[in-house]
């Protein structure tokens, strides 16, 4: 266990400052904001999946009373290659914005839209990746059907021969050509060493992020500055990219993102629609609010990448994985984005430590909603695939299902990915063991007997992984003469409370009471340092380090000032209870308030009049804003760090499945975090529980449904998209944590967000398979109709592949 007993803040619960507002409804989101004279914008979005605007006449729209202006694709810069654009004359999916109108209210704006005269010439489209790969299949873009990332990348065309396609669909052979590839070790040797080889196809559905708060934006211009209220996961990270998108200087942008009603990967940074009210406001000269509707959120809000793939895995007789060959066709939607497939490969490489592995991927563009990162992008889809496959291997090797996972579990000497780089630390075996104890695996397994009724029990185990940390970002703290300690957090308030919990590191260093700390966050006017993006489970590791660095800088300055005022050297001083004191003569001391005043008097680096050269321009602006107001501690995180920071999680699940209805109840659910030192126990519980619900959604409920004939999305509302409800999830989710400190974090902290979901997905898939005598669905989500079909042993007319799987129809079908 991490030794947090001696910590004042780390490992202790606290109430982040936004909690009360959120539970009382007083918290303000962008759509709640109002500015005098504010106009409202509404968008016209494409009704067809691919087309070219050949005629657009807005004269009647603009003549309508109350209409103040319009913005079209001709008013904004075109996007590069396959990147998403603000407005377009060649929509690539149903729902892509084409023009926007600003008016006194939304009703008038929509009435104006209804008066627009627009002609869109239909172009070929495709919503299914495999159909696009087929010779003669349509390309989503006129420039190709494949998007290759990187500087040498761009749009390309890839077509498979009919034989290759049929081989892939019918599980005969993997295709020869891939776009992305990495490997290590000898696959040939790995499979030769294997006692058991399992080869399975799989499909995982794309689906929306389901943000409760649609991505609304309010913008206006004041005294040469552009003020933008938005809904983003990140705060400081947004600034340079938004400024770039708007074509303005960083110093001329004020960005306020105090609360974010859910982003889940879709609001990591600025998104194209943010620019619409900004440009309309500039054109018209009044503030403009764009409240994105629920339906539009499903169009422009991005979605998870869907997979259609095959995996071949070799197991030695002792259960260890000797080789993995993974091929994934990924549906990346209408625009660039989605590195999920390679990440899926990386997750397999660490979770199961194969002796040799090859990953190959083909990212295919489709005329469906744009894709982007969604919690555990790639890692969580593949977790759901791998859960039941590991169970098959255990059965074939006559091993316990926990044991086969223990044998392959990563530890601190483990390696990851194609380059087989190191990890900072890993304790997956301990997580599996803790989970098995909390779940009472041995007892439940022993009690599980063959059912003689339509109610059957299934036991599932899942593992999740995501990289969970980065380095090199900035921290900023400030002591003011009123005795307050201002903790400036550039971390966005995405709902995990990491914007607050990471500052606990600074409070720990400065040994101050939390009550005397003032958390500065949520607006660039609050003088916030440069931050990593708030995604990828990385904030806890990354910004507990940055805060540590800034607080350490402040601490050194505090001691130096004490030495100047009270005599001696800084090494002779320590701090406690917001005072700095001489270690040998404690009566020689100064309060933080006195130190802050002295820092102002001294100026220079003490007051922020000067600052280190290596801090980011965003941090430089922040320091300039607060220079002279107290003692400034500011630093870039340059602490040593090598290797991938793994966030790991384990889930055990017991379900009771009704084979007559295809419905099931989760009877027991245990979720274990392996995230180094637990920094905020209540926050961890929330992360693990929220991740579990989402994971249940991936495995059991959520999916895109597109009509392939018309390119139309079927589900553009909450009730159609079916995120799990309170009655679909367990009454209680038991959460545990391994709680062993990571050596590369000052307080041992790693992130956990994403694997909390992946392990639950895998456990549910594993439990469903277990309930049905090991039957694999090879597909997520597994819905009631699929279970009924499987039990009755029949397949729907179109599903002719002979198993409960048909890669031709899965990534976006009912």
């Amino acid at each position: 266990m991490a030794d947090t007993d001696n910590y004042q803040h780390i490992g202790k619960n606290f109430v982040p400052p936004d909690v009360v507002g959120k539970v009382t409804g007083r918290a303000k989101y962008t759509a709640d904001m109002s500015v005098d004279g504010m106009l409202y914008a509404r968008m016209y979005v494409s009704p067809i999946p691919h087309g070219r605007v050949t005629h657009l006449d807005l004269s009647e729209s603009l003549a309508l009373d109350g209409v103040f202006g319009a913005l079209t694709a001709d008013d904004v810069s075109p996007a590069n290659s396959a990147d998403r654009t603000i407005l377009t004359n060649e929509p690539m999916y149903v729902g892509e914005p084409i023009f926007a109108i600003a008016a006194v209210d939304e009703r008038t704006a929509e009435n104006a839209i209804a008066l627009a005269r627009i002609t869109i010439e239909p172009l070929p489209f495709e919503v299914d990746p495999l159909s696009s790969l087929q010779a003669g299949g349509a390309n989503a873009h006129s420039g190709g059907n494949i998007y290759v990332g990187g500087q040498e990348g761009g749009l390309k065309e890839l077509k498979w021969s009919e034989q290759e396609l049929q081989n892939f669909i019918n599980q005969q052979a993997m295709p020869d050509e891939a776009i992305n590839e990495w490997h290590y070790g000898s696959l040939e040797q790995g499979f030769a060493d294997a006692s058991v080889v399992i080869e399975e196809p799989f499909v995982t559905s794309g689906y929306a992020h389901m943000c409760m708060e649609p991505r609304s934006t309010l913008a206006y211009w004041q005294n040469g500055k552009c003020i933008v209220y938005g809904s983003t996961q990140s705060q400081s990270f947004v600034l340079p990219y938004l400024a770039g998108m708007l074509g303005i200087e960083l110093k001329d942008l004020v960005y306020i993102g105090e609360n974010c009603g859910g982003g889940f990967g879709s609001k990591i940074g600025p998104y194209p629609s943010m620019a619409i009210p900004v440009f309309l406001s500039k054109k018209i000269g009044r503030a403009v609010m764009l409240r994105v509707t629920r339906e539009e959120e499903y169009y422009i809000g991005t979605a998870r990448v869907g997979f259609q793939g095959r995996v071949k895995i070799g197991f030695k007789s002792d259960g260890s994985v000797s080789a993995v060959d993974l091929f994934i066709v990924q549906d990346i939607g209408s625009h660039s984005g989605g590195g999920d497939a390679s990440s899926a490969g990386g997750a397999i490489s660490i979770l199961y430590q194969p002796q040799a592995m090859r990953f190959r991927g083909v990212p295919v563009l489709t005329n469906t909603t744009p894709r982007g990162a969604q919690r555990g992008p790639g890692q969580n889809q593949i977790a759901a695939v791998m859960g039941p496959i590991m169970d098959v291997a255990a059965r074939q090797l006559n091993m316990d299902r926990v044991e086969i996972r223990r044998i392959n579990a990563p530890d601190s000497d483990s390696r990851i990915g194609g380059k087989q780089g190191p990890v900072t630390s890993a304790y997956m075996k301990q997580a599996l063991d803790l989970g098995a104890r909390m779940f009472d695996w041995d007892k439940k397994r022993a009690e599980k007997t063959a059912s003689t009724t339509h109610k059957v029990i299934g036991l599932g185990i899942g593992q999740g992984y995501h990289s969970a940390g980065a380095k090199g970002f900035d921290g900023l703290v400030r002591l003011t003469p009123d005795g307050k300690i201002h903790l400036h957090s550039g971390v966005g308030n995405l709902g995990t409370y990491s914007y607050a919990s990471t500052t606990r590191s600074a409070a720990e260093v400065l040994k101050c009471s939390w009550e005397n700390c003032v958390l500065e966050y949520g607006s660039s006017e609050a003088s916030l340092p440069w931050s990593s993006y708030q995604a990828g489970s990385n904030t806890s590791f990354t910004h507990s380090r940055a805060n540590y660095a800034a607080a350490s800088n402040a601490l050194e300055k505090i001691k130096q000032i004490a030495a100047m005022v009270l005599g001696g050297t800084s090494a002779e001083y320590d701090v406690a209870r917001e005072r700095v004191f001489n270690i040998s003569t404690p009566s020689k001391s100064m309060s933080y308030a006195q130190v802050a005043q002295k820092a102002i008097d001294l100026g220079g680096e003490y007051s922020g009049a000067s600052y280190p050269d290596d801090i980011h321009p965003v941090t430089q602006i922040a320091v300039q804003q607060i220079a002279g107001s107290g003692l400034i501690g500011v630093a870039k995180d340059k602490l040593p760090q090598e290797g991938t920071v793994p966030g790991l999680a384990v889930c055990y699940m017991q379900i009771e499945l009704d084979t007559e209805t295809g419905k099931y109840e989760i009877l027991d659910h245990v979720a274990i975090a392996e995230c180094g030192t637990v920094v905020h126990p209540q926050g961890l519980y929330n992360q693990m529980s929220g991740g579990a619900v989402w994971g249940i959604g991936l495995a059991g409920y959520e999916r895109h449904a597109y009509d392939s004939q018309n390119g139309l999305p079927a589900n553009v509302g909450f009730y159609q998209c079916k995120p799990p409800t309170y009655l679909d999830t367990p009454l209680e989710i038991k959460v545990g944590a391994v709680d062993i400190a990571d050596p590369q974090s000052p307080y041992g902290i790693r992130g956990i967000g994403e694997p909390a979901m992946g392990c639950a997905s895998a456990a549910l898939m594993s439990a469903l398979s277990d309930a049905l005598d090991g039957q694999l669905f090879n597909q997520s989500p597994v819905t009631a109709d699929m279970i009924i079909n499987l039990v009755r042993g029949e397949l729907d007319a179109e599903n002719t592949s002979g198993v409960a799987f048909n890669p031709q129809m899965k990534a976006h079908s009912f």
Partner: protein, 330 residues
């Protein structure tokens, strides 16, 4: 069609008596839209997939709301909310089938405002139709769902006639199973019709789900209930989610029992036909048989007889069979 989210301009009428409502409905005829809870209204109007010149709000008419004992059973006002029905002790005592069905509609928030009349008279949830596409039901000349590539997992097994949409209601099959009657008012007075005859399929009228014509208003629903008759009720809804979802298939069953045998049976499913679908062969099979596993197996075999599945809804056949089995097995 683009994605609208704000209603077009409309007039709003808020009568406080049935008489005034009928006068308004008669005068405005097809230019008016009746609204109570609004749960099947505002989606249409905000999306501008359907528009209206005027709305007549019925929820301010006191006589349209409430649950009371009548000489032959229970009378429920048209705008009585689903929550009131689910929580009614009278209904729980005499016709628990309807209480169960009401309890399974949508979500607590929707049940709190959604009315019983709105629930039975609601339009289909076929997503193509709801999207505003020009399908048969919307006055066009094709069915998007009934094509080789149509997404028709939720669509019908029975009664297809150009349109393959289904009735989404949970309370409608219960009312048909209970032998309810519906009172409809118009300028010529009140008319009573059996619940079973209230609903129409696309072969009768492809643009409507029921017989209500412009100018007509549902006033109340009467459900016969005789405490002296030994009745067994069964309701089950299978949906993807346990709350806030429409049924893939639901079943409402009313069995009159005498000396351990079924003397009269009503089996009704929604989610399989454009109107509540009576399983008449099952009903005939069950009569004079004891409820139990043996009868359940025989009845299950008849449950989906005549079903014509679409590409993606074969599972509904097994689901219907299983639900019949469960209803009789108890």
């Amino acid at each position: 069609m683009s994605a609208f989210d704000v209603m077009s301009d409309t007039e709003l009428y808020q009568p406080v008596t049935v008489e005034d409502a009928v006068v308004l409905a008669s005068r405005l005829a097809e230019n008016a839209w009746l609204v109570a809870g609004g749960q099947d209204t505002y989606g249409w109007l905000k999306d501008r997939a359907k528009n209206t010149q005027a709305m007549i709000e019925l929820s301010r008419i006191p006589e349209l709301s409430g649950i009371k004992r009548s000489a032959s059973g229970i009378e429920i006002g048209a705008t009585t909310t689903l929550t009131e029905i689910a929580n009614s002790k009278l209904i729980q005592q005499l016709i628990p089938l309807l209480g169960e069905a009401a309890q399974h509609v949508a979500s607590p928030q929707i049940r709190n405002v959604g009315s019983i009349a709105g629930n039975i008279a609601q339009d289909t949830r076929c997503w193509y139709y709801r999207r505003g596409l020009s399908c048969y039901r919307a006055g066009g000349n094709l069915c998007y769902a009934d094509t080789p590539e149509g997404m028709n997992r939720e669509h019908c097994l029975f009664g297809a006639s150009r349109c393959v949409a289904v009735s989404p209601s949970d309370t409608a099959p219960a009312l048909v199973a209970l032998g309810a009657t519906i009172v409809i008012a118009d300028s010529s007075g009140n008319h009573t019709i059996a619940a079973e005859d209230f609903f129409v399929g696309p072969d009768i009228d492809i643009t409507r789900m029921n017989i209500l014509k412009p100018g007509q208003i549902i006033v109340s629903i009467h459900i016969p209930a005789d405490p002296e008759i030994n009745v067994r009720h069964y309701f089950e809804k299978v949906a993807d989610r346990n709350v806030w979802d429409f049924a893939l298939v639901n079943i409402a069953v009313s069995l009159e029992m005498q000396a351990g045998k079924i003397t009269k049976a009503r089996f009704v499913c929604a989610g399989v036909d454009c109107k509540p679908y009576r399983l008449k062969e099952v009903e005939r099979y069950c009569e004079n048989k004891a409820a139990g596993s043996e009868t359940a197996e025989g009845a299950a075999r008849l449950a989906a007889k005549g079903a014509v599945p679409l590409n993606h809804n074969h599972f509904k056949i097994a689901l219907m069979q299983n639900l019949v089995r469960r209803a009789l097995r108890g």
